[in-house]
């Protein structure tokens, strides 16, 4: 009885289309929600480093000084946690898997040259402003000290 049962399946399988797909000759279609790999739109990223702090597998490295955002897609476990935490919504989870590779190559994204120049200028301006503010504060302090000095002598005279 059971033999007949299974021969039915065996015969059906002979004439059916295979259940498996002929990957990679037939491209695989992924569902809309499939968590495949992480992509970052670097033009929106502000290098805040939140994704680096959140990543449970330490796949992301953010280097503010060098203006780079780096991911090792082979360390990433596709948990989507970084995407949920990105304040600028620059990270997205794509539905295709990371391409195979012979070594664990990292993806390094860097700000564009204009953006780096802009950032540098902004940083320079900020530093200058801070320096100027510091200088002004020092000058104010010195003036206050000078003003206070006669009062001090006055006090001494009273004594």
């Amino acid at each position: 009885m059971s033999l007949a049962q299974f021969s039915k399946t065996a015969i059906r399988n002979l004439f059916h289309k295979p259940v498996t797909e002929k990957y990679p000759f037939v491209p695989k279609e992924y569902g809309e929600r499939t968590r495949g790999h992480i992509e970052n739109d670097i033009s929106k990223c502000v290098l805040c480093g939140l994704c680096m702090m959140r990543c449970p597998s330490h796949a992301i490295t953010v280097n503010k000084a060098a203006y780079t955002w780096q991911i090792n897609p082979f360390s990433c476990v596709q948990c989507n946690y970084c995407v949920e935490g990105c304040p600028k919504k620059s990270l997205t989870m794509k539905n295709t898997y990371t391409k195979p590779d012979t070594q664990k190559t990292s993806v390094v994204l860097k700000y564009s040259a204009e953006r780096i120049a802009g950032e540098e200028a902004r940083r320079k301006a900020m530093i200058e402003k801070a320096m100027a503010a510091k200088k002004a504060a020092e000058a104010k302090k010195a003036a206050a000290a000078q003003e206070a000095a006669p009062a001090g002598t006055g006090k001494a005279e009273v004594q």
Partner: protein, 359 residues
């Protein structure tokens, strides 16, 4: 009587999906006793609580196992939610139950395939895994992952599942029943399968209780104990009765799992039918402070999650007792007196998951 000898079995063995090592003390092809050793795939996941905050730990907890991943994430979340007094929205409770049952379904189907493979039934193995693929496809459609779903979160779920998708699932599950009828028929009625399973590795009700077994292994010995009876998540609102068998042998374990397959399909369809509308994520405020022990029923049996927190973002202790850990003493007991050739199938009948056990 020939002399007693010790034969090593595993950690690498064609029938073992995962590494467990046994020293089989044998005499005349009969196993006198077995001494297990584990520890080949220990990862130290529990101690990661020091380095990952309590929300990140959900993702770590899920990765304890590749098969019952949803349950591990859910058990952990439930424990943390109990500490923080969070009420999970109804829709999230039902969806969690649905995902948990889908995990059970694909786990048991995988087990059927592995069992078929152990008997040498290659095409039956592939038939089972073909069915399992349909469930994995649905899981991927809903959560984005095939085995690691990353959908459970403290307070509910990260994503909602739209109603149209649920309706589609309902249709697919209804159709799945006939696929199962076809393969389970062979497991339950085929003479060759029966000759490998019937009367092999009998565990009495007394032994099952004394050795603290759990899951289908326990229920196949006639004990009506299932953590789902504690009515966590939405189980209290579903029509649920644990599947049991009385024989206590390998065939009974197979029968219980097959019964649970049909029961899971039924529970999933009940969940879909009763699915409430609304939010799936409750707001999470503050940090956990306190301790809690959560029991849930995983495909392989009852799992315990102990969580202790002291009001900081990192937990102080996280402990998982997985079902296979509880079933290993029982396994050693049923092996006594069996043929060496049956050892491989006996190990399979407890559906071991060694990665879970070692975390």
């Amino acid at each position: 009587m020939s002399k007693i000898s010790v034969v090593p079995f595993g950690p690498q063995h064609p029938v073992l999906p995962e590494p467990i090592h046994l020293d089989l003390v044998i005499q005349d092809e009969k196993v006198l006793s077995a001494i297990p050793s584990i520890g080949f795939v220990h990862r130290g996941l529990e101690s990661l609580v020091d380095k990952r905050d309590f929300k990140e730990m959900v993702l770590v907890a899920e990765r304890i196992c590749g098969i019952c991943s949803f349950g591990h994430g859910m058990g952990y979340c439930e424990a943390v939610e109990k500490i923080m007094n969070i009420t999970v929205p109804d829709r999230a409770r039902f969806l969690r139950t649905m995902f948990q049952e889908m995990s059970r379904l694909h786990s048991h189907t995988m087990w059927l395939g592995l069992a078929a493979d152990a008997f040498g039934y290659e095409s039956l193995f592939m038939e089972c895994w073909r069915i399992r693929e349909k469930i994995l496809d649905m899981l991927e459609m809903a959560t984005g992952g095939r085995v690691i779903f990353s959908i459970c979160d403290v307070g509910g779920l990260r994503k909602d599942v739209p109603d149209e998708m649920l309706a589609e699932f309902d249709r697919r599950f209804a159709a799945l029943k006939s696929d199962y009828d076809h393969v389970t028929e062979i497991f339950l009625n085929d003479d060759a399968v029966k000759s490998r399973l019937c009367g092999v590795g009998v565990m009495t009700i007394q032994q099952a209780n004394d050795l603290g077994c759990c899951g289908p292994f326990l229920r196949a010995s006639g004990v009506r104990r299932d953590a789902r009876m504690t009515n966590y998540e939405a189980y209290g609102e579903l029509d649920f009765e644990p599947v049991t068998a009385n024989e206590g042998d390998s065939y009974a374990r197979c029968k219980v799992r097959i019964g649970e397959i049909y029961q899971s399909i039924d529970l999933i369809r009940q969940c879909i039918a009763k699915m409430p509308a609304g939010e799936v994520q409750a707001p999470v405020k503050g940090l956990p402070d306190g301790e809690y022990m959560m029991r849930i029923e995983q495909p392989r049996g009852e799992a315990l999650y102990y969580v202790k927190a002291n009001g900081t973002k990192n937990l102080t202790r996280f402990r998982v007792r997985t079902p296979t850990f509880a079933n290993i003493p029982g396994l050693m007991e049923i092996m006594k007196g069996t043929e060496v050739a049956d050892v491989a199938t006996l190990i399979l009948t407890i559906d071991p998951c060694i990665s879970c056990t070692e975390r």
